[in-house]
Amino acid sequence: MNRPLILAVSAFLLLGLVAAWNGRRMRESLSQVEAHVASANQQRLEIGKLNAGFTSGEGRARPEDSVLVAADRIAPWMVSGTPGLAGAAIGQAALRRTIWRPNSGGAERGLEVFENGQTLAAGGFDLAIVMVLALPLVILFAPRHDLVLLALGPAVSLLGILGSGAPLTQADTWLRVLAWLVLSGLYGLFWLLVRRKNWVYWATGVAYVTLVFIVPGLAVAVVDLLLPAPSRMALAAKKQAALLPVMAKTSRDLAPFYEVHPEFAENGATPADYDRIRLAAEAQWSEAWEPLRQQAEGSADLHRMAVEVVGKLSPASILYSALLETAGTGVSRQDAFEETAREFGRQWSIALRAGVGRGHPLRPADLDRLPTFRYQEQPLLSWMLPAVIGILSLAAWGAAMQMTRKRR
């Protein structure tokens, strides 16, 4: 190997290792959320147990005398586990990760993880970014040595993934690593074929910036223009309008409890009455809100899908999307988690109804009857499908490039 090639390979390797180190730090920061959730849930449960065995000495009602209020105070927060390969492709994992909680009507997004919008807007630096943005530059401009350049992507990926703190004891992680290596190899092959066209330098540079920045940017922009994501402001206004008739109906029934205060029950009403009325009100609210939510989520999914489809016009966006899905920091893993959270919400809701039906405040024994949330890793197919589509799309790009070469 000549000196400039060694220099280019070393620089790329260094970039990959810096990205892996940075990704590792980001992954550790992400995993703190899980620790906080676990600790908060433990504390809530302990307080719940204390309250469940306690009766007010003065004979006045306590908020916890209501099954729904007591359950709300111990309802477990739910969050997705940190993906094994998050350090390699941090993507927008911090942005998409939300903390959920069950309630009597099911489950809802409870808290948005606090993140600094300014740092999110600047984008993250990880191995996926190095592969998508820097690998083509090395392949296009380093001294020609096809085999070395072709092996560069997978080799640096492997080293980077090992350095990013991925848990390599799980078979699932290795499958993901394998998909990653194939994707980066095919991407490298595509750029190698571009290089073989022997365009003048500046034209190669223009091809790079067009395929890596302009086409993905245009894909997002054009879809934003023609099929925009739903307006969250409009949804908030619709939510408020939907709440109007529900509250008009239920507020009178809940009047003896000042809407949400069973401890101030008046006119002979009891916390058990509160639970019964509140359950009915929550059911009405779910009925009004669920179609709106589903419509908005559906529009957002459609928007994202359209970007993904148009994004296939650039190998860079194909690789980026596929790497995020492979790493578990894309959309599908969060969707899978939200589905699990909703299912848990349904179980929780059933348990609460049974609790309300018993007609007395929660007792320590009742707490054991409540379901426990356990995070389940996304199904294999949900990440493998986008990865395979990415592999096929990159292969198609490579084949197209090869065919245009033959014609010349």
């Binding site: 600094n116 934003d224 408020q240 809407e259």
Partner: protein, 475 residues
């Protein structure tokens, strides 16, 4: 002599069809990005106005209700955007667009637009700011890489020296020649962007001043990239090496370093944990905080205060609504807790941004990002004003409604109802746009960083063009 070299460079550039195409393509992409920004701005504003109208109607038409129940119905606040956000969307996709002003909820702007976007938006987002920070620097490299390197590669430089040309004249002539072309592109793009954004969004006086300052910072950043590319061209032995070096520099300056600086900010100080904040808020209310007693003691305190004020000794004899007073007191505590904890969280986020700004020492694009978004009122910290206004509004709303209950709800208690006259007493939510120039002036670190980078790279370009090749010639 310099003037003739400048004119020759100028003419040669415009004769080069491919380069003309590159420039035109850049201008077209930039104009498109501004147009898309304008469409997005207009869509946002019309959606905001419609949503504001809708929630106001919902509020006024909520029918008769107990005033305390109305605090659970509440309303929703939506933040405004400046016209300059068309050019510099900054952190907007990562800032919430709706604050639910209801009792029992955190009053922050939630529902981040970026959450509904494809993750691809994190790779390349064709905003005008992205064009200035990433695409234009690439164009600069493309137009500059051959400036000095090609003449050296082809032997033209030696020839010109042999016929009596002065090196300084050659270097400055080439520099001004390419610089003039870039200046024209810069002025056209900047003017075009400003014109479209002003027409679409309606620039106010603050916007116009901010836009002019933005132009200055774009100029400084573009100058930095130009001088670096020129310095590389000055030392590279071939134009291929110059282009490769220029692209590596571009990748580092425009892509890698700003991202690293941002990540460094994020991990330097752990982001406030939402769950921890929620836990602390619950604990504040239950167990008290600072000089606030626990909930039971507060309830007892309110009761005793009422006994003293109304000169009675039993609950049954009270002539006011006890829960109403309790709600007033609890809302005050919640508000104080929220203010305290939000302040702590903000300090953490400010520390992260400060660390990111220190990173600008290595990455002028970071300085440009921070200055650009601050000038456009789209920096993350500039949402704090709207959040404070929303908190104040929510607190006032609860206080007015709970006071109504406390004063008039003795007889009927929870069954006490009030109606439209009361709802009308709650004004429409209004939050001013953030101060743009004032906030940007506070970013002295970023301004100084850009100026230092500009000066140093200017010196570097001059040094490499004039000194390094002479050393090379001797060898």
């Amino acid at each position: 002599m310099i003037l003739s070299i400048v004119l020759k460079e100028w003419k040669e550039f415009w004769r080069h069809r491919a380069m003309r195409l590159v420039v035109l393509a850049y201008l077209a992409i930039y104009a498109l990005s501004v147009l898309l920004g304008a469409v997005e701005h207009s869509r946002y504003e019309s959606s905001r106005v419609a949503a504001e109208k809708s929630v106001r109607e919902s509020w006024l038409n909520q029918g008769e209700k107990n005033p305390h129940s109305a605090t659970y119905f509440g309303t929703v606040a939506f933040p405004k955007r400046s016209a300059l956000s068309i050019l510099e969307p900054g952190a907007l996709p990562y800032l919430g667009v709706a604050a639910y002003l209801r009792a029992g909820l955190r009053t922050e702007f939630v529902d981040l637009p970026a959450r509904d976007e494809s993750p691809l938006a994190g790779l390349a987002n064709l905003s005008p700011a992205f064009c200035w920070q990433v695409i234009f620097p690439f164009v600069i490299v493309l137009l500059t890489y051959a400036a000095l390197a090609r003449d050296r590669e082809t032997g033209m430089e030696r020839y010109l020296m042999a016929v009596g040309s002065n090196r300084a004249t050659l270097v400055f002539g080439k520099t001004f020649g390419v610089g003039l072309v870039l200046l024209v592109i810069y002025l056209v793009a900047f003017g075009l962007g400003g014109a479209i954004a002003s027409l679409a969004g309606g620039f106010g006086q603050e916007d116009t001043s901010a836009w002019l300052l933005l132009g200055l910072f774009y100029f400084l950043f573009s100058g930095i990239v130009f001088f670096l590319a020129l310095a590389i061209s000055g030392v590279a032995s071939t134009s291929r090496k110059s282009l490769t070096g220029g692209l590596v520099m571009w990748l580092l300056i425009a892509v890698v370093l700003p991202r690293l600086a941002a990540d460094n900010g994020r991990v330097s100080t752990a982001s406030p944990s939402a769950i921890e904040m929620s836990r602390i808020a619950e604990s504040d209310l239950e167990r008290g905080f600072e000089d606030r007693p626990p909930r039971d003691a507060r309830i007892e305190g309110t009761l005793n205060m009422l006994f003293r004020e109304t000169k009675v000794g039993r609950r049954e004899d009270l002539t006011v609504n006890l829960p109403g007073f309790h709600f007033i007191s609890e809302a005050e505590v919640e508000n104080a807790s929220r203010g305290l904890r939000l302040g702590q969280a903000r300090r953490t986020l400010t520390a992260q941004t400060a660390t990111m700004e220190w990173g600008a020492a290595f990455s002028p694009a970071t300085a440009l990002q921070l200055l650009g978004s601050t000038l456009a009122g789209t920096a993350a910290t500039q949402r704090d004003g709207a959040t404070d206004a929303a908190n104040l509004y929510a607190h006032r709303m609860r206080r007015i409604l709970n006071r109504e209950l406390a004063a008039k709800g003795r007889e009927q208690g929870g069954a006490f109802l009030t109606g439209k006259k009361m709802w009308n007493q709650i004004d429409i939510f209004e939050a001013d746009l953030p101060k743009q120039i004032e906030a940007a002036a506070a970013r002295t670190r970023s301004i100084v960083t850009l100026l230092i980078w500009f000066t140093l790279t200017l010196l570097l370009a001059a040094t490499s063009g004039l000194v390094v090749p002479q050393l090379g010639e001797r060898s």
